[in-house]
Each structure stands twice: as structure tokens, then as C-alpha cells.
């Protein structure tokens, strides 16, 4: 059975996703594709968390953790690449 916090989390995620997509083209966010991918993985993990409470517990649980892992990789990579970009800009390259 799923929990209320998981549902709330999912709702938050969907709202945040809609905001992110709405601002995607207006905002000049460095490495935003990676950040968006990471966020989608996190949202997927929230979805899988809800679903594992309804059916196929083990499968969705594994998918949930895989999604968290990939989200971490995407976020870590986005921050690392952004710092690299920052260094290049500070050296004068554009």
C-alpha cells in the first residue's frame, strides 16, 4: 500500500516539472538537459514508489532505486560540468 507522503511527493514533482518545462526555454540554465534528466529520474522514482505499493512490488522497487541512482549521476554530472564551464568563462573563453 502506498503512503500519503509518496502521493504528495508525486504531486509536488509533477507541479515542479510543469514549472520547469514552462521555464525551460526562457531560462539560460547551464547543463539544463542533465538537470532535467535528473529531475525526471527523481520523479520516476516517486512514481515507482507509489506503484510498488499497488503491484509488482519488487520490480518497481528496483526501478525506484535505479531511478534514484541515475538521478544522482545526472545531478552530480550537471554540477561538475557547470563548474567546468565556470572555469572556462573565468579564463576568458566564451
Amino acid at each position: 500500500m502506498f503512503q500519503e507522503s509518496e502521493i504528495i511527493n508525486l504531486i509536488f514533482g509533477v507541479v515542479a516539472l510543469s514549472v520547469f518545462i514552462g521555464m525551460y526555454k526562457k531560462t539560460w540554465l547551464p547543463r539544463r538537459k542533465l538537470i532535467l534528466a535528473g529531475f525526471l529520474f527523481m520523479l520516476s522514482a516517486s512514481l515507482f514508489t507509489v506503484l510498488e505499493g499497488i503491484f509488482w512490488l519488487d520490480a518497481f522497487d528496483l526501478l525506484e532505486h535505479i531511478s534514484y541512482g541515475l538521478a544522482g549521476v545526472c545531478f552530480g554530472a550537471a554540477a561538475w560540468l557547470a563548474v567546468g564551464l565556470q572555469h572556462r568563462l573565468e579564463r576568458g573563453g566564451r
Binding site: L29, G69, V73, G76, A79, L89
Partner: protein, 726 residues
């Protein structure tokens, strides 16, 4: 375990995000973005770590709070997303600042560039307001005129208190256009020519706010322009006033492009004629193929094309030496030509060649005449001796007298040859031509088929002439006339008195002349041969040597006369001879002189054995005791010997020229050293020799020309020896 591995990966990934997220600074991210990003990453890292521990079978302290933590990460992330919006504004501002900075930099660079351009103009530039007050001066203006901010330009440039009359800027203010004027200004105390360009200056609304004045020093340029104009004028003058014909022609069309005055004057064509003609039009038709070939071979640079024939407007043909040079004439490939008329020069060269040939001939003639003279001395001397022994009025004596006459004529001829060979002047005396012509004609036609008719007026003037030479001229012309009529015919000899004036076109000094015309009705002379008949060695006869008329020409010229011929092929020829007339009376030959005998010892020196023999015999007949020597050295020895023997000579006869030995002049000098009072007579066949004509100046007492007769010898000896005899 698999889930635990992914959870670890998740925790590590978010941990990396925290570490690097904290390092991201504005303007890449603003602080709020970084905060929410790090917070969401922290929550996620804690959740991942908690899950990893849980799935690893370990108890996590965070596990009870995990659900709460999960509630945070998405809002944090949403805040992160929202905070990025503020970054957008920062970015726009930064871009605007960057653009502004770039614009300022650009404007600054533009200003620096403009100032550099104004400074680099090199000419004085001022910007003035509408009252002609200077508000800007560039570097060259300050250097040339000093710094005068706020002062009136007319004060600076012309030291005037009012606007200049020809102010270009004032005009630019009136009509809004650019004006250029040239004037002379005093710059640093020196007069300079300047060109002032005045332009109106307007603001962005098109309102006139002032003007720009550019003052360019054109003194050097003006001087160069003047030099160039002078140079062009000079070169034009060199072309136009060149004394030799010059022209420029198009190498493609061969048409004349320009001609100078000398060409117009020399050729007779007008400038318009020339410019409508090609260079082919002034060439004889037969020369045109050579001309075309020559033009096709023209190369850039100087070309000495050699001698060409040109036709003048009057149809006469002249020889010209052509020198040319290619040039670009108004974009056309052309050739500048200098044409030097060498017709006269070539004629003179031909004359010089003729003179050279005459000189060669003269040397030959001189040698022959000298030998002939010696032979004639023997002949005439022996005839004279024979005359002594012949009975008076006998047939023998008559024949001897005729032989003597012929020998005298032969003597005259050799004398002519000698005169001719030595180039000496004729021995002139006032003579009547009547008898001279008749005798010469008679002698020339002796034994020939032709007859002669004379037309000689009684009042024919006398002339100053050398009878022997002029006799030879008549002889040569008559001989020529006779040969022109192989079957014989009548030769007409006419004489007349004539006065030559400059208008007659005869190349003689104006004055009185006797004109002799000798006409035959023979074969005539071909037109192309007329100019050559007086040339040495020119002959149309198979047996002729081409010398007769050449000698005649030379003789007449030395008499300051003139000879020319008129002839028509098949109709005969007329030779005209002009000789200067004389006011003096003619001197007629004396009667045969009588023999004058004498006594004394005579030393005769002559290199020719015949002469020695006959002269010894003649002197012996005259009563003298004679001893002979072949040259000077032998004569001196003989003189010494006889003096030593007590039989000194009373008189010496010395031959002037002894080939290869001591001649008469040197011999006399040596004899005078031994016997200062010795009587000496010089003898020579060269009667024109200075020693013969002025013998006393060379120490001789008398003279006798070879060949000599008994009478002339006796006279010469007597005139020298007689004073002592008296």
C-alpha cells in the same frame, strides 16, 4: 543488494552535486539557485544514503525521517528552478553592461582612430565655428601656424582683421557646398602656395554648426607642375624647332601622327598633307616592300634604319639617313623618326672619292711624265743638234722642225701631266684663244675623218690661261667628239663673250667669261651617264680609259672656269667651257732665239744617261767644256778632284730630283761650302716646283726646265755665265 548499489550511486552522485554545486558562483548561478540546488542535493544524498544502509541490512538513523525528507527535495528543487529566473535578469543586465562597455570601447577607438587620421593628414586642418573662430587644430596646423584656440582664422592665416575676400569657408556657409581655392600665404616668413578646401560642418539635425578648413601646401606641387609644363614645352620645342625633319608615325597604320616645322619646310608638304598621308607616300614605289619589311622588324628602342630615299612634294628624290625610336603616342604604338638629308653629303663623298681617284691617277701620271721628260730632253736635244748640222731650207731641216714641233707638244702634254699630278695651279698668262683653239683642234683631228667649223668672233676677249692646259682640254673634247661620230662628221666650235650673273644659275663667280662651245652630231650621251662623264675612269668606250674628260674638268676648275655638257641620245653633245676673261693684252711668243755660245768648264749632274749625253753634246756645240756626273755625291767628288788638279769648274748644272741619290739642292749647299761663288743652274722636269719658280731663294743663279732645246740651254747658260764674261 542491487537496490543498495543504486542507492549508493545515488548518494555519491548527489554528494558530487553538493560539492560542485557549492563551487558555482554568480553570474553562472546566483546564490539562491546554488542554495536550493545544494539543499535538494543534500536531501537526496541523505535519502540515498539512508536507503543504501537500509538495503544493506544496516540500521539508518535517518530511516524514521526519510519520508519527511523526501517531502523537501522536490520543493527545494522547485525553488532552484524558480531562482534560475532571477539569473535570467542578471544575465540580461550583464549582457547590457557588456554591450555598453563594448559600445564605449568602440566609440573610444573610433575617436582615437579619427584623431589619428586627422593627425596623419599631414596638412593643416582646423574646425571653426560659424564666426570663423578656431575650435580645433590638428598637429600639422599647430606646427605650421602655432596654437590659436578661439582666435579668428583670418587673423592666423593672413594677419587680417576681417574675413578674406575669397574665403572658401564663407562660401561653404552660404551654399552648404565644399569649396576649393588656391592662394599665396606667408608661412613662417616664406611665401607658400596653398590649396584651401573648405567644407561645411552640420550636426545630426542637419544644422550648420561650423566648418572644416584643410590648408594644403602645394608650393612643391606647383613648382613640379611648372617644371613639368616647362619640360613639356622644352621637349615640344626640341621636336618642333629641331632643324632636321622629324615626325611620329603609327606603327600599325603607318599614318603620320605629328610632324615638325623642318619636315614641312624641307619636304614641301603642309602639315595637313602630312597628317593625311602615310610614310609609304613619301617613298618611291620600288622601296615600299623594303619599307614594309623594315617596319615589321621594328623593335622597342633605338633603331638606326640607314639611308632611305624620300620623295619631296616637288617630286625630287632625296637621300635621308633615318634614326628612329619607338614610343607610346597617346596610347598608340608609334615611332619617332629623325630624317637627316644626306643628299649633299653623299654628293660630297662622291666628289671626295673622285678626288681620291684623281690623286691616284696623278701619282701615276707624275711618274710617267717625269720619265717622259727625260726621254723628251734626249729627243729635243738631238733634234736641236741635228738642226745645227742640217742645211738651211733643206727638206731634212723642214722635217726636223716638224719633229721638234711634235716633240714640243709632247713636252706640253707631259707638263700637263706633271701639273695634274702635283695639283699645282696652272701657269697662267693672258692669251688669245683663237689660235690656241685652232691649233688644238687641228692637232686633235690630224688624220681623222671629222672636220671642224669655227665660229670665233674677231672681238673675242682674251683670257687668263695656261695655254698648254687649255690646249689639252680642247684636244680632249675634240677627240671625244670625233669618237662620238665613228663615220666622221662636222664638229662645230663656237666662241662668245659672255657675262655671268648670279641669276644665270651657273656655279661661277659673276663676271666676264669667254665661252667655248664644242658641238658634235654623234651618238650622244645617255641621261644616266651625264653625271658621271667627268669621273676618272668612267668610259663607255671599249678602248677608252676614262681620263680625258676628268683631266679637262680638273684643268678648267683650276682656271676658275666651268665645264658642263648638254646631250641627247642619238642627236649629239655640246660641251660648254667658261674661262675667265682678261683685260690685259695677250703676250705673243717671241721669235726663235738665237744661239749664244760661250767658254768655260761646266759640271753637269743628271741621273738620266740620255740627258747627260745630249746635254753634254749641246753644251759642247755651244763651246763649253763639259764633264758629267750621275748624282750629287759623284758631282761633289768630281768637283773636288778637278779643283785639286787645277781645273776648277766655272758653272754647274744640277738636276733637282735624283731618285735614290743626292739631289740638286743639297749638292749645291755642299758645293757652296767649297766654292762659295760657283755659278749654278737648276734643271728639272717639274717646272711647277717652288725651287724652279724661285730658284734664287735657294741659291741657284739660273734655271732651265727639261726638256730643253739648244736655244733655251744657251740662253740659260749665257744669262748666268755672261756677267762674269763681261
Amino acid at each position: 543488494m542491487t537496490a543498495a548499489a543504486f542507492d549508493f550511486i545515488s548518494a555519491i552522485g548527489f554528494g558530487v552535486a553538493i560539492v560542485f554545486g557549492l563551487r558555482i558562483r554568480p553570474p553562472l548561478w546566483d546564490r539562491a539557485s546554488r542554495l536550493f540546488f545544494v539543499l535538494s542535493a543534500c536531501v537526496m544524498a541523505l535519502v540515498g544514503l539512508s536507503n543504501a544502509l537500509e538495503h544493506s541490512g544496516l540500521t539508518s538513523a535517518l530511516d524514521p525521517y526519510e519520508d519527511y525528507l523526501e517531502l523537501f527535495y522536490l520543493p527545494f528543487f522547485m525553488f532552484f528552478i524558480l531562482s534560475m529566473h532571477s539569473y535570467q535578469e542578471i544575465k540580461i543586465r550583464a549582457q547590457a553592461e557588456e554591450a555598453l562597455r563594448a559600445a564605449l570601447n568602440s566609440a573610444y577607438e573610433e575617436k582615437e582612430r579619427s584623431e589619428a587620421v586627422i593627425a596623419a593628414i599631414g596638412d593643416s586642418l582646423t574646425i571653426q565655428d560659424r564666426n570663423f573662430k578656431i575650435i580645433f587644430q590638428n598637429g600639422p596646423c599647430k606646427a605650421d601656424w602655432g596654437e590659436h584656440p578661439g582666435e579668428f582664422c583670418y587673423k592666423i592665416y593672413e594677419e587680417s582683421d576681417r574675413i578674406c575676400d575669397d574665403c572658401g569657408l564663407a562660401l561653404a556657409f552660404q551654399d552648404g557646398k565644399v569649396h576649393r581655392i588656391r592662394k599665396a600665404l606667408l608661412k613662417k616668413g616664406r611665401s607658400r602656395h596653398v590649396e584651401i578646401t573648405a567644407s561645411p560642418l552640420k550636426n545630426s539635425r542637419g544644422e550648420l554648426v561650423g566648418g572644416v578648413e584643410l590648408v594644403r601646401d602645394i608650393t612643391d606641387q606647383k613648382r613640379m607642375e611648372e617644371d613639368l609644363r616647362a619640360s613639356v614645352k622644352l621637349y615640344r620645342l626640341l621636336f618642333e624647332s629641331n632643324p632636321h625633319p622629324m615626325w611620329v608615325y603609327d606603327l600599325e597604320t603607318l599614318g603620320f601622327l605629328a610632324v615638325n616645322d623642318a619636315a614641312i619646310r624641307h619636304y614641301g608638304y603642309s602639315r595637313e598633307d602630312f597628317l593625311s598621308m602615310t610614310i609609304k607616300d613619301i617613298r618611291p614605289p620600288e622601296d615600299i616592300p623594303r619599307l614594309i619589311e623594315n617596319v615589321s622588324k621594328v623593335t622597342d628602342g633605338l633603331d638606326e634604319a640607314g639611308i632611305w630615299r624620300h620623295i619631296k612634294k616637288d617630286g625630287s628624290v632625296i637621300d635621308v639617313e633615318i634614326t628612329s625610336h619607338t614610343l607610346d603616342f597617346g596610347g598608340r604604338r608609334a615611332e619617332l623618326v629623325l630624317a637627316l638629308d644626306v643628299t649633299e653629303r653623299r654628293r660630297l663623298e662622291a666628289e671626295a672619292r673622285k678626288a681620291q681617284r684623281l690623286e691616284s691617277l696623278g701619282m701615276l701620271a707624275g711618274g710617267l711624265a717625269h720619265d717622259f721628260n727625260n726621254l723628251l730632253t734626249g729627243i729635243i736635244g738631238n733634234i736641236s743638234l741635228a738642226n745645227l748640222y742640217a742645211k738651211a731650207d733643206s727638206e731634212v731641216r723642214e722635217r726636223l722642225i716638224e719633229a721638234e714641233k711634235a716633240a714640243f707638244r709632247a713636252r706640253d702634254l707631259t707638263q700637263q701631266l706633271l701639273t695634274f699630278s702635283r695639283g699645282g695651279a696652272p701657269i697662267k698668262k693672258t692669251s688669245s684663244l683663237r689660235d690656241l683653239i685652232r691649233d688644238s683642234v687641228s692637232f686633235a683631228l690630224s688624220g681623222r675623218r671629222s672636220k671642224c667649223e669655227f665660229e670665233i668672233p674677231d672681238d673675242l676677249w682674251h683670257a687668263e690661261l695656261d695655254e698648254a692646259q687649255i690646249g689639252q682640254v680642247i684636244y680632249n673634247i675634240i677627240l671625244n667628239a670625233d669618237q662620238a661620230m665613228p663615220e666622221g662628221g662636222t664638229i662645230r666650235v663656237a666662241c662668245e663673250n659672255t657675262v655671268v650673273s648670279p641669276s644665270d644659275g651657273i656655279s661661277l663667280r659673276p663676271g666676264r667669261y669667254v665661252k667655248i662651245s664644242i658641238a658634235d652630231r654623234g651618238v650622244g650621251i645617255q641621261r644616266e651617264h651625264i653625271g658621271k662623264i667627268f669621273d676618272p675612269y668612267f668610259t663607255t668606250k671599249q678602248r677608252g680609259r676614262g681620263l680625258g674628260l676628268a683631266i679637262s674638268y680638273s684643268i678648267v676648275k683650276r682656271h676658275e672656269g666651268y665645264i658642263y655638257v648638254e646631250s641627247e641620245k642619238g642627236k649629239g653633245s655640246v660641251f660648254h667651257v667658261y674661262l675667265p676673261a682678261s683685260d690685259k693684252r695677250a703676250s705673243y711668243p717671241e721669235t726663235r732665239p738665237e744661239l749664244k755660245t760661250g767658254r768655260g768648264r761646266v759640271l753637269l749632274m743628271d741621273d738620266e744617261e740620255t740627258v747627260r749625253a745630249v746635254a753634254s753634246a749641246m753644251l759642247g756645240s755651244l763651246g763649253y767644256e763639259v764633264e758629267a756626273a750621275t748624282d750629287g755625291a759623284e758631282a761633289i767628288e768630281l768637283f773636288k778632284k778637278k779643283a785639286a788638279e787645277g781645273k776648277p769648274f766655272d758653272l754647274v748644272i744640277l738636276d733637282l730630283t735624283v731618285p735614290g741619290g743626292m739631289g740638286g739642292k743639297e749638292t749645291l749647299q755642299r758645293l757652296r761650302e767649297m766654292a762659295p761663288n760657283i755659278k749654278a743652274v737648276v734643271s728639272s722636269g717639274y717646272s711647277n716646283d717652288p725651287i724652279m719658280s724661285d730658284f734664287e731663294a735657294y741659291g741657284f743663279n739660273g734655271v732651265i726646265a727639261k726638256p730643253y732645246t739648244m736655244e733655251s740651254l744657251s740662253q740659260a747658260i749665257h744669262s748666268v755665265a755672261a756677267p762674269e764674261k763681261r
